[in-house]
């Protein structure tokens, strides 16, 4: 199954009856609303570790911005929604390189509507980057918030959990980021360059999906829809 970018909403993927397209970068495009959704950007995660003594490469923010910019160019959305944990911590802004900050400002300006969704423990994005800040937003039949709600919530798209899925075959296993969904609600993969992941079989997902969710797994060249029962836990 390959990417199909069209404005007619003629996509083989759907969520709660709404036509969507998962992007290999980890973004989700909603055709009707012309909205591009990204979750858990975690800007300045690398420098957060550097501050604590582990000198990870300072390129993660730049890499994340590049991929974000590519996705925006590809889908030409009317609205971009950043689904929480956009900045790794409160002081992230202070550590961001000027060039990256400028890039982010232009990116926000390049789109008609930019929405920063913030969760309860989320650092609020600094005003200088523009956009509007909301705790959640409605997109037709879809509700977008940062942390997924317990119990069945049809139409909810959330982030925060950084889902990964693991599949076995040919005597070995593959583990990759994924969109976790049961067809009516979804948890987005983390978009940020250095973000790790949590296996969808982990108990943290149990309050959200009644049974093990399916996974739209992000491979190197394509996105693969795999049924929940074929997924395996992290040992």
């Amino acid at each position: 199954m390959t990417q199909a970018v069209s404005n007619t909403g003629d996509s083989p993927w759907s969520l709660h009856g709404v036509a969507v397209t998962p992007d290999i970068n980890g973004a989700l495009f909603c055709h009707d609303a012309r909205a591009l959704i990204v979750a858990d950007l975690h800007f300045e995660k690398g420098s957060a570790y550097a501050q604590r003594g582990q000198l990870l490469p300072p390129y993660d923010t730049g890499a994340t911005l590049k991929r974000l910019s590519d996705a925006i160019a590809r889908y030409q959305p009317k609205t971009v929604i950043a689904l929480g944990d956009s900045f790794h911590d409160l002081r992230a802004d202070g550590r961001m390189a000027e060039s990256d900050a400028d890039t982010l400002v232009s990116l926000v300006r390049s789109v008609s509507d930019w929405v920063w969704i913030v969760g309860n423990h989320d650092p609020v994005p600094p005003p200088r980057f523009g956009g509007r800040v909301l705790p959640d937003i409605q997109l037709g039949r879809l509700t977008l918030r940062h942390e997924p709600t317990e119990g069945p919530v049809p139409g909810e798209i959330a982030g925060h959990l950084h889902p990964c899925a693991k599949v076995r075959g040919k005597g070995r296993s593959v583990r990759a980021r994924c969109f976790a969904t049961d067809g009516t609600r979804m948890v987005m993969p983390a978009f940020g360059a250095f973000t790790g992941g949590l296996n969808v079989c982990d108990p943290a997902f149990s309050p959200i999906f009644a049974a093990r969710p399916d996974a739209w797994i992000i491979g190197a060249q394509d996105i693969y829809a795999v049924k929940g029962r074929r997924l395996v836990p992290q040992a």
């Binding site: 199954m1 995660k45 420098s47 570790y49 550097a50 501050q51 003594g53 582990q54 000198l55 990870l56 490469p57 300072p58 390129y59 993660d60 730049g62 890499a63 550590r95 390189a97 599949v167 076995r168 075959g169 040919k170 005597g171 070995r172 296993s173 593959v174 990759a176 360059a193 250095f194 973000t195 790790g196 797994i217 491979g219 190197a220 060249q221 394509d222 693969y224 829809a225 795999v226 049924k227 074929r230 395996v232 992290q234 040992a235």
Partner: protein
Amino acid sequence: MTKSTALPSRFERWFASKGWQARDHQLEMLAAARAGEDALLIAPTGGGKTLGGFLPSLVDLADMISNSSATRPYALHTLYLSPLKALSVDVARNLTLPADEMELGVRIETRTGDTPASKKKRQRERPPDILLTTPEQLALFVASPNAERYFCDLKRIIIDEIHALAPQKRGDLLSLGLATLNQWAPQACRAGLSATVADEGGLARWLVPQTNSKAARFARIIHGRPGPRPEIEILDSAERIPWAGHSGRHAFGEVYERIKASKMVLVFVNTRAQAEFTFQELWRMNEDGLAIALHHGSLAPEQRRKVEAAMAAGNIKAVVCTSTLDLGIDWGDVDLVIQMGAPKGSARLIQRLGRSNHRLDEPSKALLAPTNRFEHLECQAASEAVAQNKLDGEPLTTGCLDVLAQHVMGRACGEAIAADALYDEIGHAAPYSDMSRMEFDRVFDLAATGGYALASYDRFRRMIKGKDGLWRARDARTAQRHRMNVGTIVESEMVHVRLGGKRMGRRLGQIEAWFIEQLTPGDTFLFAGQVLRFEAMSESDAIVSRTSDDTPKIPSYQGGKFPLSTYLAARVREITHDRSEWPKLPAQVREWLELQGQASRLPQANELLVETFPRAARYYLVCYPFEGRLAHQTLGMLLTRRLERMRMRPMGFVANEYALAVWGLQDLSGVDMNALFDEDMLGDDLDSWLAESPLMKRTFKTCAIIAGLIERRFPGHEKTARQVTFSTDLIYDVLRRHDADHVLLQAARNDAATGLMDVRRLGQALARIKGHIVTEHLTRISPLALPVMLEIGKEAVYGEGHESILADASDALISEAMKQ
């Protein structure tokens, strides 16, 4: 006996009381020490090497102590370093014995990772005369304050098992630590103790501080008396020898008979999985109830100690073991060494043979038991090499950059250092003697700020330059974190195996996390000599239960991790095509080669034979480089990429020690082999493969950990590596894209040359066969191809296969959907 080799009378009396005589090499070591010369002692095991190393120290100390008062001061006289924790403990026993019997009053102590903190503190305050310790402890000293004072009176440094240490990263770190000691105690004399090796000169140089001039410095080389040539027999099995696989099952009956007929036997195997399997099979046929034990590195330490003690007491008939038993420990009365499978190198075989018969006057007896037909050729080549005393071994390479970064940080944690002085200091370490100042500065920067082109990390630097121009660790906490992460051993993540049930049972040992990850509850596998059932994971323990099952469900890969050495590979190539060598081989092996000569052709020593043939709707290309499995795997990766670009649609490949088989949907007989095997595959093709290769990512991760960029242990998070919330793979990707010249990427590429990817060996092979490719287009599979073809299905590899695994899993979705 000259004055320089004269023993003090107390020592003479002691030797006499034992009925011994001091050996020539021991007296020569004494002479060298008295002359202030560094010396490298090369001797087979059991040749009195340990005493040869310590004798000069004991003599010197005896003299010093007899001339001093009862309350003489505490000062470190001799530092003894060895790679194995247990070895130090064992040597202490062997050393303490003569010291006590001669009533010398020498203070001897050990210091390892297991030494309690209180004892370590006391050792710092009141140093012993002789300290027995490990390279990691030395690195910790270097990274601690006030260490210079501790070592300033040092007279001697002894490095044991130097042949095992020097070629590894561990040796690089040790060499740098020695360079620091040379700064603090320039008067200290060095002694290296080594098994027999090919590159004696290389070790003699490694041991000794180098200078700024181009002239290399060497230690005096002293040879212990070689024992009589070992008697090596190759098992000519009456059973049918398998074509492929490494189980050795066909030979176990004969192996058992040999055990019965001997006093004590060591059965060496190449992997833990093989050890478990062999142990289980021998017990199956153990009607005589012989005491057969198991020993490998993943067993719980208490279990290993039990076996070792029983061996020393002579209560064991046979031990099935891996290389954990390889290093110099002196084991009682072994009268036969059996090597299952090929020894992979003549030097390795000789070192293992050293295990048998510690009375040096009688020849060691060894039996090689090849596990498949090709291994017969390997064993033949190895036994001939030993008979001719032809040792193999890779030459020592330049020092690793990640190790240097760790050492630089360590120096700054210990005391304030100047960059110029440090550059000068590391130049005294042989592996780093040719390093340019520019490269040193890059590594220095890596340690201080991560070494990024982007200068944004200046405020996070781990090392700070003071007003005095000297560098120190940023703060005490940073220094503490460095010390917690010292060392070069980055193990694959291990999981404890624990018996479960109503009450938590004991731990049986450790097993690799990736192995447990393959299992689902209910799967059975072989470990610690029993078939266990995997029940569940509990934190970092794999909970298992005992079963009465005979056979485990999950097999383990049994081939070794070391490839056939280049020297042996060349010999095997010769044996293969030279009919005059064949009479030495068993009839089954001769017949195989004969058939190959008839059906296709025998590969000549200086050419590459490539065969193509169709089979069951697939087309095969099989080539015979004889360069070892690792280099062949790399070649397979690169060839399939090329074939893909040529639109030949390759589907997979499989490799063994001497051959590589590639298959696809298109007839490969028309391919231009000269173009396919061109050396230029080591350029862009290699680069782009390294970008995605999990092996390369693993190599990078190891470098990042050793260099201190990523911590494997930080305070409060000692539990499991899984709690780290970033992935080094992501870091590798980002670094490749944004900072391709980063020094850590350079370090990883250097490792790739000789490590799991064996790129250098592949490069040499491709250069050698250029213009010498010979092709045979066959209509069916050839005899020589049979063993590698039998590997297909056991371990299918294509690219890394990830995409196809995902595709398969999702296709199941489609077919499920279609059924509705």
